[in-house]
Structure formats: structure tokens, C-alpha cells
């Protein structure tokens, strides 16, 4: 028997706060939330609560609106799912189109970003990816490492990295000044210091511009027209032996996903051909689906890769 939602939420006050907010505006989402929490093991549930605590702080007094925007975002995603399964491709394929429809529309972006914040807690593949990151990266990361995160968005991974990795420093880059601002404010709200923020296009990196020990890209590559060129470019700011963490969803239609990867092998090949050697990887299907089944049904899977920069 699947446990009930209230059983799953017992002893998890922050997750409960967020679930209550969502169910108030979207009672029909209960079955999804129940399933999504029931597939998580103990460490992943602990990570869920950790992320939820941060999301509650970030949400502040806007939780009700954020919950509405989560529902709105899920509706947009369902439209994209329909297109994806009908046509076998993402609806938009150029940055220009995504920019015109999504990035340049402030009202759209606000709702979308709110939606993605809650997805960070409620979509099991997102929490599994975070769990993979915090389990696997410490195994390879040296002491006092210098971290670079590209496109930190809601800032949760950057926040938790600053809190737990004993870093010498952290840098955050994004091509969008609005996003940079948002991440900076998020980190302030969370009370985390030690990160430097800058507007930077990762396609334009000169060799030796900076040397990082760990570069993190979570949910960035699928937004790019040429992710291989981006990875090759990033290689320019990494020393030989530095690590790359990538989290990229496959078969995952979204309004601003323009680069379709369909298999785990696609992702590994992308990273390898950009000059990295894969050290470990994990694949987490939405709602804890078995990988084989998710691939057959073309259900979204988050693929996480840790790779080392070759010479």
C-alpha cells in the first residue's frame, strides 16, 4: 500500500508548508504529490526537506502566489508534452524564439521561475539530482576548492554548496542580468555569503580567464543551441583535472528547452566529445519510474554527470 500524503509529510514541516500551499490552489495535485514523495528513499526525503526549508525562506509571504504559478507552469509543461509526443521534437529550437516567447516576457518569467522553485521540491527527479550532486561531488572535490556555477537560477544548489563544501570561493555567472540579480538576492535572503556574481556569456570565454576546480551546470545545456560548444568553451576556465557537474534533462519538453537529448548515452557522448572524461553518472526518471520504462515511453529523465577535464 502506498502511504498517504499526510503520513509522508509527517516530521517534514517545510515540505508540509509547501504541499499545503499547492493543494489549496490545486487539490487535484494530491495524487501526484503522494506518488512523488512515496518513491523517495530516506536520504532523498531528507534532501527534500532541506530544499523545502530553503524554498520556504525564498517564498516568504508570496507562497500562495508561488503555488498558483506552480500550477500555471505545470499547465504550460503539459502543452509542451503534447507537442513533444505528437512531433518527437521540442517546439522551439532557437535561442531567438525562446527569448521572444519566454525570456523577454517579464510576467511570464516571474510565473515560470516561481513554478520551477516548487518543482525543485516536488519533482522527484530534481531532488534525486540534488542528492546525487551532494553525495558524489564531495568524493572528488579537493579542500578549499573554487566553484563556478553557471545559471544558478533559484540559487538552491549554490546555497547548499556554500554551506557544505568548505569552498575557498564561489562564482556565479549568467548571461542574463535579471537572472544574476535574482540569484544574488536569493542567496542574500538565504543568508549565504561568499559568492561573487557576474553577467557572463559562457560562449565567450578566453583560455585562462579563470581557473575553477568545479564547474556546475544544472539545467542549462538544454537551453542552448550548441551545448557542445558551451562545454568546450567552459573547458577554457578549468584546470586539467578540474571537475564538471552537469544535470541535463532528456525527453523533457519545456517552453524554453531547445536542445533535445534522447538517451543517457547522448549526454555522456556530449560531455566526452567536449574534452571531458566521465567519472560517474546517474539517471533519475520523473516520479521514480524505472529508467528502461521511462526511456521507452519518452518520459523526462534527469541525467547527472561528473566528469574531469582532460588535457
Amino acid at each position: 500500500m502506498t502511504p498517504t500524503l499526510s503520513e509522508l509529510l509527517t516530521g517534514r514541516p517545510a515540505t508540509t508548508t509547501l504541499a499545503d500551499a499547492v493543494l489549496k490552489v490545486w487539490p487535484e495535485h494530491e495524487a501526484y504529490l503522494t506518488k512523488s514523495l512515496s518513491v523517495r528513499d530516506a536520504p532523498v526525503l531528507e534532501m527534500t526537506e532541506w530544499l523545502a526549508e530553503a524554498a520556504v525562506i525564498l517564498g516568504g509571504d508570496r507562497l500562495h502566489t508561488i503555488a498558483e504559478n506552480y500550477r500555471w507552469t505545470c499547465d504550460r509543461l503539459r502543452e509542451e508534452e503534447l507537442h513533444f509526443h505528437r512531433h518527437g521534437s521540442y517546439r522551439l529550437t532557437t535561442f531567438e524564439a525562446a527569448n521572444a516567447e519566454v525570456y523577454s516576457d517579464d510576467a511570464y518569467m516571474e510565473r515560470y521561475i516561481d513554478g520551477l522553485l516548487l518543482s525543485q521540491v516536488f519533482w522527484s527527479n530534481h531532488v534525486e539530482s540534488c542528492n546525487f550532486y551532494f553525495r558524489e561531488v564531495p568524493k572528488v572535490l579537493k579542500d578549499s576548492a573554487r566553484l563556478l556555477e553557471i545559471g544558478p537560477g533559484h540559487g538552491l544548489m549554490l546555497y547548499l554548496s556554500l554551506k557544505t563544501f568548505g569552498l575557498a570561493g564561489a562564482t556565479a555567472w549568467d548571461i542574463s542580468p535579471v537572472s544574476v540579480d535574482q540569484s544574488r538576492r536569493a542567496l542574500e535572503r538565504l543568508g549565504a555569503s561568499g559568492a561573487t556574481f557576474a553577467v557572463q556569456d559562457i560562449m565567450q570565454l578566453a583560455p585562462g580567464a579563470a581557473a575553477f576546480d568545479l564547474v556546475v551546470m544544472s539545467e542549462v545545456l538544454e537551453h542552448l543551441e550548441d551545448p557542445r560548444r558551451a562545454l568546450t568553451s567552459i573547458r577554457n576556465v578549468m584546470a586539467v583535472g578540474a571537475y564538471l557537474f552537469v544535470n541535463v534533462p532528456i525527453n523533457s519538453p519545456s517552453p524554453d528547452h531547445i536542445y533535445l537529448l534522447e538517451t543517457v548515452e547522448d549526454v555522456l557522448a556530449l560531455v566526452e566529445t567536449a574534452g571531458f572524461r566521465v567519472v560517474s553518472h546517474g539517471a533519475f526518471a520523473s516520479q521514480g519510474k524505472e529508467l528502461k520504462r521511462a526511456l521507452r515511453q519518452k518520459i523526462s529523465v534527469s541525467v547527472c554527470v561528473i566528469a574531469v577535464a582532460g588535457d
Binding site: A31, Y32, K35, R78, E81, H85, R86, I299
Partner: protein
């Protein structure tokens, strides 16, 4: 060629089970998402598209929303393939 509704029912049950990845489960005209754990809004989209492909038909967004009972889907396919 018009197919009998019961033939259609059997064929669409097969598609349903394949899309939802379920085997030992009885599907009737009255079955809704509440009865099948795997039937959520996203698998509903995949079910619709699988049916569209099989019968070379297309559902409008409003139709997709309104098809809640399994039987509604069978009826809608029957209507579209007879038109």
C-alpha cells in the same frame, strides 16, 4: 471502415496498458484517473497521442481536457473514425 465499439474498446485498452505500463488491471468504460495510479495528467497526454497516431485522428485541447472516463475516449475515437 466502421469498427464496432467493442473491437475499439479492446484495441484502446491495449494502447492504454502499453502507455501506462500496467498489466493486471481491469479497464471498463467507467474507469477514470482516480482508479489507476499511473493515469496522471502527463500520461493522459501520452495516451491521447498514442491513440491519435493509431487512428490518424486529432483531438482538440478542449477534448483532451474533457476525456475523463475511459469510455469517453472510446466513444470519441468511434465518432472521429466514422466521420
Amino acid at each position: 471502415m466502421a469498427k464496432s465499439t467493442s473491437e475499439l474498446h479492446v484495441a484502446i485498452v491495449k494502447i492504454f496498458k502499453d502507455v501506462m505500463d500496467v498489466e493486471d488491471i481491469e479497464i471498463t468504460n467507467e474507469t477514470t484517473a482516480d482508479d489507476v495510479e499511473e493515469w496522471d495528467s502527463l500520461s493522459h497526454v501520452r495516451l491521447i497521442v498514442a491513440v491519435e497516431k493509431k487512428y490518424a485522428i486529432k483531438f482538440s485541447d478542449a477534448e483532451i481536457e474533457s476525456l475523463r472516463k475511459f469510455g469517453d475516449l472510446v466513444t470519441a475515437v468511434a465518432r472521429k473514425t466514422n466521420a
